[in-house]
């Protein structure tokens, strides 16, 4: 029977996990800081959940209210820098994306992460009118996850080529790319007819071709460059020079003085 591999998440997985092992959780603290309390109060009912996790205030909000929340944060709470926008793919488990906005208050040196969940296929409101840094960040989010931002001035692929297929950071996208990705440069430069001439990509870093004497040689069976060895090669004994035969086990030579 062929081994079952889930199709909805093809990323690296632990090959062995103790069945009684329960992952601990990073402690989530109650909001106690004065400034953070004021932030939560200013946002009022729009905050579904608020806690402090490793020096960051995390605010869970509804995806439809992201613009209003960020506007309040910017205007009344002084979070004038949006340092990061990106998403996390939870399609396999929950069928939604988690989008986070990492905000920074320059005067108080405090950071807030605004987190919202977005169902697959829905679009989020762009925050470019508030923060210009969202321009590139949302384009990257679209490129990597396929999450569209409404009213973005120029929503286009940014890191991948325009004619690329698929969104690479989705969990369903394999690390080494799909069929389209593996032939992309050959198709683009030489055309599909050249696929046979150039051949498939070598994705195995340890692959050795037995009869390739251009790139490989066999110890004891060395032949000159690019000789045809399909008929077999002759063995040449290895000759060791006696000067190189130093026994490192006997001496007290210390190679590194650091220890």
């Amino acid at each position: 029977m062929r081994k079952y591999t889930p199709k909805d998440n093809v990323q690296g997985k632990a090959y062995y996990t103790d069945r009684f092992w329960v992952a601990p959780r990073v402690p989530r603290q109650v909001v106690e800081d004065e400034h953070f309390k004021a932030v939560v109060e200013a946002l009022g009912e729009r905050v579904k959940e608020a806690y402090v996790e490793i020096n960051n205030l995390v605010l869970h909000i509804d995806a439809t209210q992201n613009y209003a929340v960020l506007e309040t944060l910017k205007d009344t709470c002084g979070y004038k820098v949006c340092s990061e926008i990106s998403a996390v793919d939870y399609l396999a488990k929950e069928g939604e994306f988690e989008i986070f906005y990492q905000m920074l208050n320059l005067d108080k040196a405090k950071r807030v992460r605004v987190v919202c969940r977005l169902k697959k296929g829905l679009a989020i409101e762009s925050v470019v009118p508030l923060f210009k840094s969202a321009n590139f960040a949302e384009r990257e989010m679209y490129d990597m996850f396929g999450i569209k931002a409404n009213n973005h001035p120029f929503l286009k692929r940014i890191l991948m080529p325009d004619d690329w297929e698929g969104h690479p950071l989705l969990k369903t996208y394999p690390l080494q790319g799909d069929e389209f990705a593996s032939w992309y440069e050959v198709d683009k430069i030489f055309g599909k007819a050249y696929r046979d001439i150039i051949g498939p990509e070598n994705r195995d870093p340890a692959r050795i071709e037995r009869y390739d004497t251009k790139r490989f040689s066999r110890v004891g069976y060395e032949v000159s460059f690019d000789t045809d060895i399909s008929g077999g090669e002759t063995k040449t004994e290895i000759e060791y020079s006696s000067t190189f035969l130093t026994d490192y086990n006997t001496g007290t030579k210390q190679l590194d003085k650091r220890k």
Binding site: L159, A181, I189, E201, R203, P205
Partner: protein
């Protein structure tokens, strides 16, 4: 030439050196390899360092040119991504013959540690490569050694490029 005692009077008033056209042309080609400033990634920094003050590439006659039309050596220094592959080929096409390619660093040789969707697994899928330099990133000395190896290779070649038997004809 000047070391030999030349009888200027009997040789038409000029010192004479006999050589073959092959040797003369290859001497010229190998000692004035002008690479294209084509930094792709990390290795480009080492390429700059080898052109910089300590390693001084100029003493090999290797002067970086910014235009592919003026250069005859392409040093592919760093990761070639799939988006960029097209441009690498374009630049290679724009270089005048004869031209040589050095693939610098593991990423350019085989894709190296970036065994991902976005990286070309070896630039020899795009352009024919003469010298591969291993390392991540190779030291400037390695690059200079590679250029010296390439000079050796050029000196062995025939000046008539059509006569040279290309081992790998699938990409020329």
């Amino acid at each position: 030439m000047a070391q030999h005692k030349v009888n200027y009077a009997s040789n038409g008033g000029l010192p004479v050196a006999l050589t073959s056209v092959d040797k003369l042309l290859n001497w010229g080609r190998s000692n004035s390899l002008w690479p294209l400033t084509y930094g792709l990634a990390c290795c480009a920094i080492e390429m700059m360092a080898s052109g910089g003050s300590r390693f001084d590439f100029d003493r090999l006659g290797t002067i970086f040119r910014a235009s592919p039309r003026q250069s005859d050596l392409m040093i592919l220094a760093g990761t070639l991504s799939k988006k960029h592959a097209e441009f690498a080929r374009r630049l290679y096409d724009q270089m005048p013959e004869p031209k040589w390619v050095i693939s610098m660093g593991s990423c350019a040789n085989t894709g190296g540690m970036f065994n991902t969707y976005a990286t070309v697994q070896g630039v020899d899928r795009i352009v024919p490569v003469d010298i591969y330099i291993p390392g991540c990133a190779p030291r400037p000395e390695t690059l200079q050694y590679a250029v010296m190896m390439l000079q050796k290779k050029i000196r062995k070649e025939s000046a008539n490029m059509k006569k040279n038997k290309k081992q790998d004809l699938r990409l020329v």
